[in-house]
């Protein structure tokens, strides 16, 4: 969660293109850009990095779920790693069992 952690992770994303870093705030306004970033990464295995997430909103979760469905249809692997407590709490409150749809890694 530190500053250095963030920058190094951004760096990783640039080299390994099959990662998607979720933004800190997954609120109403983040949904459309998030859907877009999934669409541009289609057709390959993808790891979602949830380590920066501080706030979760239902619409972004819709996007995540839609992505999971799409990746499943495509026969590709979609996994989520390093979910923060906030991320887990949010998805718990929303009554979502993300692990049913994608491989969820250990919390940070």
């Amino acid at each position: 969660m530190s500053r250095t952690g963030k920058s190094s992770r951004t760096g990783t994303r640039r080299t390994a293109k099959k990662r998607l870093q979720l933004p800190e705030v997954l609120d109403l306004t983040a949904a459309a850009p998030l859907a877009q970033s999934f669409i541009t990464r289609r057709g390959a295995d993808l790891t979602i990095d949830a380590s920066q997430v501080r706030r979760v909103g239902a619409q972004c979760m819709q996007v995540l779920l839609a992505a999971a469905t799409t990746w499943k249809t495509d026969g590709k692997k979609l996994s989520l790693e390093k979910p923060t407590e906030e991320f887990l709490e949010g998805s718990h409150l929303l009554g979502l069992r993300l692990e049913d749809d994608l491989a969820v890694g250990e919390p940070v």
């Binding site: 609120d27 109403l28 949904a31 239902a58 619409q59 469905t69 249809t73 929303l94």
Partner: protein
């Protein structure tokens, strides 16, 4: 994100206005439960929206506020005057917090603390928790304190003792099954299911199941759509009201069904409880809970007879769960009058609440678009005038077919124009609503007791006028309280009520809006005004002035009656600035004052800044427009009525009065020789402070509706000219600034300036 934020803050403004007007009605003695509900909803919505944007200060304060309002709503807290005063102060603080959240800046921490403490004291929440709100205590921790506090009370007091305690301390947990499906609108309105679900789970044990079956694939997904739905099984000691209130401000933006639960909780009822007490409990619940929506509870249909008598959600639950318990029979056998009476008002109130939002549909439109439309309609009016001019020139205008067609066209353009102006028109309420707060603050600073009465808040006027009205009004109301009203002691000594009255009223009068600011204070102290004006060299010591003229002295630049500059009225803005800004809007200010009875300031303003009715006149072969509002009468002067008056000045004799005759052609530099008064027309005009003068023009062409085109925007400011317009023949005509022309003719000095500006 920005646009959502903007919508949120716009809505905040609306909610704050609603909050304040509701509180003021409550203060005025209204006991309509719908008003209390509206007030509660306003704060609740602000809290909800603020939560979505993580504005924690706002959420925290709104929550404390809301808790108190909830007490009021439930009838546990009376709305006696100290309570409403606290609530009004809290509303002010909330407004500050919203403003800070929007514009940045600093909040007055101390004020927030004081207000939060006051609120906490009212709701019975522990004060310590609020005293240090920025510490570890997060806003979640405040949740529903009053209920938690009541448990020990319940243990100590016999069940039969007080009704409210029993209803409150209901120890049984009830299970609700809530199905919740948001519409896309819920998200658009910046609401967040996570927030709602979090609040729900705070009420008790919540099992949340999400229905993800309608989630499409990425291509079909609309990011802003709504695909998720939830079923929540909530086991809680709270009443259905509390559960429902969580969804209160997404009402209409979602499908919501709350089914009051299963038998489990009812079975927990202590077996040893005497039948009588159990019946009493059921009855008490009947009085304190709203009936559930019948359709939401199909299982309960068998118990409808009972519902009709008891009207109780809880009783209904019990009936559904244990259909033949003695409780129900006892209840049915001896319905108490109270229980029978309770349900209808509750239902009626609910129905009214659900219908209200659908009646008044509005859309938000960017002001620029309306302005563009307004501009186009202006062009249309000009075009129509041109068309009619051309037909006249071609000699066709008398042809009856053309004439009828033209008339209809003219009528249509006129209707369109009015329609567009109606879009821009807004009730003055938005400005008037800011005043109660101002009055409270100024009253507090000056130590005076003031009651503000507003009238005609629904009077509509152009939005631009409204926006530019706020500052002058604020200043005049400050003045009315600071200078107009006497101190409570003086008032009592003068045999008046201790509480001073400031009346703010608006009305439409002959195509203008008239706003009165009246106080019942001591009136203008003319001797003092005169003495100050003399001292400051504004008038000659021996000048003969009428009372009216003395009153108008306060509008002179450099005049300030307060011997010490108070921090209320004396902020470097005098009444001259007020007058200037009103004049800039094409308005006028006048005063009437009666010693001992108070003063009234009257503002008269045009309804719109886009069109005016004007008299089209010819001056030195130029076409000019004189606003009709400033013309009192017109006359054809006889050569014998005109008298020279030192140098070039002339006066005209009218009904035994001599008025200055102003040669417009010379003032504007169109000609150097004085016009022949016998050949022209004199327009008697009223200018600043009601002084009359006569404007000399060559001929009158007619009266017409004029579309105002700003000269300042398109060219530059020209002294003596207010704006320009385009006439039917396509020529540009200047609109005279009557006050400026009159003022210039008095000094005579600006002649050259005027001529220069026009030449340039």
């Amino acid at each position: 994100m920005d646009s959502l934020r903007q919508i949120f803050f716009q809505e905040c403004e609306e909610q704050l206005a609603e909050l304040e007007s509701g509180l003021l009605e409550i203060e005025g003695g209204s006991e309509d439960p719908e008003i209390v509900n509206a007030v509660f909803r306003a704060v609740h919505s602000i809290k909800g929206g603020a939560g979505a944007f993580a504005l924690e200060d706002l959420v925290r304060f709104a929550h404390v506020f809301e808790t108190v309002l909830d007490e009021v709503r439930k009838g546990r807290l009376s709305t006696a005057s100290p309570v409403t005063e606290t609530l009004l102060r809290a509303a002010d603080v909330l407004a500050d917090l919203v403003r800070v959240a929007r514009d940045g800046g600093n909040v007055n921490e101390e004020r927030i603390h004081t207000s939060a403490d006051e609120l906490a004291a009212l709701s019975g929440a522990p004060i310590g928790a609020n005293a240090e709100p920025e510490e570890e205590v997060s806003f979640e921790d405040f949740g529903f304190t009053p209920v938690a506090m009541d448990f020990p009370v319940f243990d100590d007091i016999a069940v039969v003792d007080t009704v409210s305690v029993e209803a409150e301390a209901e120890p049984d947990a009830t299970t609700y099954t809530i199905s919740f499906r948001p519409h896309p609108g819920l998200y658009t309105n910046a609401n967040e299911p996570v927030v709602l679900l979090r609040e729900l789970s705070r009420l008790g044990d919540a099992q949340i199941v999400c229905d993800t079956s309608t989630i499409p694939t990425l291509e079909e997904l609309e990011a802003e759509g709504s695909y998720l739905a939830w079923t929540i099984t909530l086991t809680t000691t709270h009443e259905e009201d509390d559960v429902r209130s969580i969804f209160e401000f997404v009402d209409g933006d979602c499908d919501l069904e709350i089914i009051t639960g299963n038998a489990a909780s009812s079975n927990d009822e202590p077996a040893g409880v005497d039948d009588d007490i159990a019946a009493l409990l059921a009855r008490v619940r009947g009085e304190f809970t709203e009936p559930v929506d019948e359709s939401a509870s199909p299982a309960a249909s068998a118990a409808d007879v009972v519902v009709g008598l008891a009207g109780s959600a809880t009783a209904e639950t019990a009936a559904a769960a244990i259909p033949s318990t003695p409780i129900i029979e006892a209840e049915a056998a001896k319905p108490t009058p109270e229980a029978a009476k309770t349900p209808p008002p509750a239902k009626a109130e609910k129905a009214a609440g659900s219908e209200a939002p659908s009646t008044n549909q509005t859309i938000r439109v960017d002001l620029d678009r309306v302005d563009r439309l307004m501009n186009l309609v202006g062009e249309l009016v000009i075009n129509q005038a041109m068309l009619s001019q051309r037909l006249t020139d071609a000699g066709l205008a008398r042809d009856s077919e053309f004439a009828t067609g033209l008339d209809e066209f003219e009528q249509l353009t006129h209707d369109i124009q009015e329609g567009v102006m109606a879009i821009r028109a807004q009730p003055v309420k938005s400005v008037f609503q800011r005043m109660p707060r101002l009055v409270r603050e100024v009253a507090a600073i000056t130590g005076k007791k003031v009651r503000l009465v507003t009238e005609g808040e629904d009077t509509e006027v152009d939005k631009t006028v409204i926006e530019r009205l706020a500052d002058p009004l604020t200043h005049m109301i400050r003045n009315a309280i600071d200078h107009g009203l006497e101190s409570p002691e003086k008032r009592l000594a003068a045999g008046k009520r201790e509480e001073g009255l400031v009346r703010l009223s608006a009305s439409h009068r002959s195509g203008r809006i008239v706003i009165d600011i009246a106080d019942d204070g001591a009136g203008i102290n003319r001797q003092r005004v005169r003495a100050i004006a003399e001292e400051k060299g504004l008038i000659q010591p021996n000048a003969q002035l009428t009372d009216e003229e003395v009153d108008n002295l306060i509008f002179l630049p450099g005049f300030s009656t307060a011997s010490t500059v108070s921090d209320i009225s004396g902020r470097g803005v005098g009444m001259d600035v007020v007058k200037k800004s009103i004049q800039a809007l094409g308005g006028r200010v006048s005063i009437t004052s009666r010693p001992g009875e108070g003063s009234t300031f009257t503002l008269s303003l045009p309804l719109t800044l886009a069109v005016l009715y004007g008299m089209v006149v010819t001056v030195a072969e130029q076409t000019l427009v004189v606003p009709l509002t400033s013309i009192v009468e017109t006359l054809k002067p006889k050569a014998g009525d005109i008298h020279g008056f030192g140098g070039d000045s002339r006066v005209i004799s009218m009904r035994n009065n001599f008025l200055p005759l102003i040669d417009v052609g010379r003032e504007l530099g169109y000609r150097s020789q004085p016009a022949d008064p016998g050949a022209g027309v004199a327009l008697l005009v009223e200018s600043d402070g009601g002084a009359h003068s006569a404007l000399m023009v060559d001929a009158i062409q007619g009266q017409r509706q004029i579309v105002i085109k700003s000269l300042e925007e398109n060219y530059g400011r020209v002294p003596g000219v207010a704006a320009a317009t385009i006439l039917g023949d396509g020529r540009v005509a200047l609109i005279l600034d009557v006050d400026a022309i009159v003022a210039a003719s008095r000094t005579g000095a600006s002649n050259s300036e005027t001529a220069f500006a026009l030449a340039g």
